[in-house]
Amino acid sequence: MLKVDNASVFFAARNGQTVQALDRVSLDIPNGGFVVALGTSGCGKSTLLNAMAGFLPLSSGSITLDGAPVSKPGAERGVVFQRDTLLPWKSVLDNVSLGLQFAGMPRKERDARAHELLRLVGLQDFAKSSPYELSGGMRQRVGLARALAPDPKILLMDEPFGALDSMTREQMQELLVSVWARTGKQVFFITHSIEEALFLGTQVIVMSPRPGRIVARFDVDFVRRFAAERDARAIKTLPAFAELREEIRAIVHQTEDQEAATI
C-alpha cells in the first residue's frame, strides 16, 4: 500500500515569493487499487506524482510504500510519462527490458520477459522496431510495458494518454484496464478528463489549484464492471455514470470559479 500523509510542497517562484503546490494531501492507494487524480492544470497532481516517484522531496509530510519511506526514485515504483521517454537508439525490445538490464538480469532471461510484456500490450510483432517507427499510442504501450518490466509494486501514470487522439485513447484505456486486472498492480493515474477518471478508477480524487489540495473523493466501481463485462459503451452510457460525471464536473467548475474570484 502506498500512503501519502499530510504532504505539502512549497516552491520558490521567480519573483521571490513562495508558491504552495500541495497543501496537506493525504491519500491511501490500497493493493490492487486504481486511484485517479483529476483536476485542472496547476492543481498539483503532477507535483504529487513526482513526489510519489521520488523525483521531488516534500516540504513536510511523508510518503511510504508498504511502510518504507519514499526518498528517491526506485524500480519498485514504475512511472509512465505523458511524453514518451523511450531511448531512440534502442529497439522496442531493449527499451522494454531496460530496467531488467539495470538490475543485472542476463540477456536471455530479460529478452524472454520483455517478449512476454510486449505480448501483454499487443506489440509482439514490433520487438525489433525502433521507437521512432511507432505511432504515439504504440509508443505509450511500450512505455507501459517498460514500466511493468521490473515488476514494480505500483504504477505511476502522469497523463499518459493526454497526447493521444480520442479513439486511440479509448483503446489504451481498455488495454490499461486489462493489464491492471491481470497484474493486480496498484495504480496512481493523472488525467484532466472526467470520463477517463470515472472509467478507470476505483477511487477518483478531485484536486483544486493554489494551493493544490483534494476537494472531493469518490469510490467508484465502473472499472471492475468493465474488467468483467468488457463493454465500454454500455458502461459510459449508464445513467449512474452520467450522473457522477455531472456531479464531478460541477465540483471542478466550482473550483475554477473560486480561483477566478481570487485573482
Partner: protein, 295 residues
C-alpha cells in the same frame, strides 16, 4: 416564377456542371498536387550544382587559355593535371606526395585522437558537475577564441620546431569544440529521460552509460566535425610556417618558386582529404546515430 425558384434552378445547374467537370478516373490521369512550399522547396539541387561546377571549370580554362589572366598567376586546368601527375610520380620538394600527405594526416589524426579522448570526458564532466564546469570554463573560454597561429610561436619556443609543437597546437584547436559540444549534449538531455531511467532502477554509472552518453552522442559527433574543419585550417597554416614535410609545406615551397600549378595541386589534395573526412563523419553519424532528428 419566384426569385427562390430561379435561385434554385441556378444552383441545380451549377451542381450539374460540377458533376460533369469531375475527371473520369479511368481515362484521365489525375493532376498530382502538393502543398505549396516556402523557400527552397523539395526539388533536387544536384543538376544545378554539377552545372555550376562545369561553368566554373570552363571559366577557369577560358581565363587561363586566352591569357586574360597572366599565366604566372593562373595555370590552365591541363597544366595542373600534368603537374599533379608529375608530383604523383616524382614527388615534390625532396619528398614523395604520399610522404607529404601522410605527414599531414599523421599530425591531424594524432591530434584528433588526443582531442577526442580528452575532450569527450572533460565535456561530459563539465555538463554534469558544477565544480568541473566552474574550474575548466575559465581557461577554455580564454584560449578558445584565440586564433591558434597566435600561440604557435609560443608552442615552438616551448616544444621546439618538431612534431610536438604542431600536434599540441592542433590538439588545442580541436579540443575546445569537442568539449563545448559534449557539454551542450549533456545540457540538452531532457530531465524526463533521466527520471525515467532512475525510476527503472538505474545507478549513477548505469544512467551515465545507458542514457547520458548516447543522448549526447549526436552533439559530440557534430563537435568532432567542426573540430576537424578547424584542424585542417590550423594544420595547413602551421605547416606553412614551420615544417619540412606536409601538404602545407609543399604549397609554401611551391609558392617560393612561383609554381602556381603545384600550389593548385596542393590545394586540390587538401580539398580531397577534407572532403573524405567529412564523408567519413557522415557515414559514422549514419551508423552511430541513425535516430538523429527523428525524435
Amino acid at each position: 416564377m419566384t426569385d427562390l425558384a430561379a435561385q434554385l434552378s441556378v444552383l441545380q445547374s451549377i451542381d450539374a456542371s460540377a458533376t460533369v467537370m469531375l475527371p473520369d478516373p479511368k481515362t484521365a490521369t489525375p493532376k498530382l498536387v502538393k502543398m505549396r512550399s516556402f523557400g527552397m522547396g523539395e526539388g533536387s539541387t544536384v543538376f544545378i550544382s554539377v552545372a555550376t561546377g562545369i561553368a566554373i571549370l570552363s571559366l577557369w580554362w577560358l581565363l587561363a587559355q586566352t591569357g586574360w589572366v597572366p599565366h604566372l598567376f593562373l595555370p590552365t586546368p591541363s597544366e595542373v593535371l600534368l603537374q599533379a601527375q608529375s608530383i604523383w610520380d616524382d614527388g615534390y620538394a625532396n619528398a614523395t606526395l604520399w610522404e607529404h600527405v601522410s605527414a599531414s594526416l599523421a599530425r591531424i589524426l594524432t591530434a584528433a585522437a588526443i582531442a577526442v579522448l580528452l575532450g569527450i570526458p572533460v565535456g561530459l564532466l563539465m555538463g554534469l558537475n558544477r565544480w568541473a564546469k566552474g574550474v575548466l570554463d575559465t581557461p577554455i573560454e580564454f584560449y578558445w577564441p584565440l586564433p591558434p597561429l597566435a600561440y604557435l610561436p609560443l608552442m615552438i619556443i616551448w616544444l621546439g620546431i618538431g612534431e610536438a609543437s604542431k600536434i599540441t597546437l592542433l590538439t588545442l584547436a580541436m579540443f575546445a569544440p569537442i568539449v563545448l559540444s559534449a557539454q551542450a549534449g549533456v545540457r540538452a538531455l531532457p530531465l524526463e529521460r533521466v527520471n525515467a531511467a532512475l525510476s527503472l532502477g538505474a545507478t549513477r554509472w548505469q544512467l551515465f552509460g545507458a542514457v547520458v552518453l548516447p543522448s549526447a552522442l549526436p552533439e559530440i559527433l557534430t563537435g568532432i566535425r567542426i573540430a576537424l574543419g578547424v584542424g585542417w585550417g590550423t594544420l595547413v597554416a602551421a605547416e606553412l610556417i614551420a615544417a619540412n614535410r606536409g601538404i602545407g609545406f609543399m604549397i609554401m615551397s611551391a609558392s617560393h618558386f612561383l609554381a602556381t600549378d603545384a600550389v593548385f595541386v596542393g590545394i586540390g589534395v587538401i580539398a580531397l582529404c577534407a572532403f573524405s573526412f567529412t564523408l567519413g563523419m557522415r557515414l559514422l553519424e549514419g551508423w552511430l546515430v541513425p535516430w538523429k532528428g527523428k525524435n
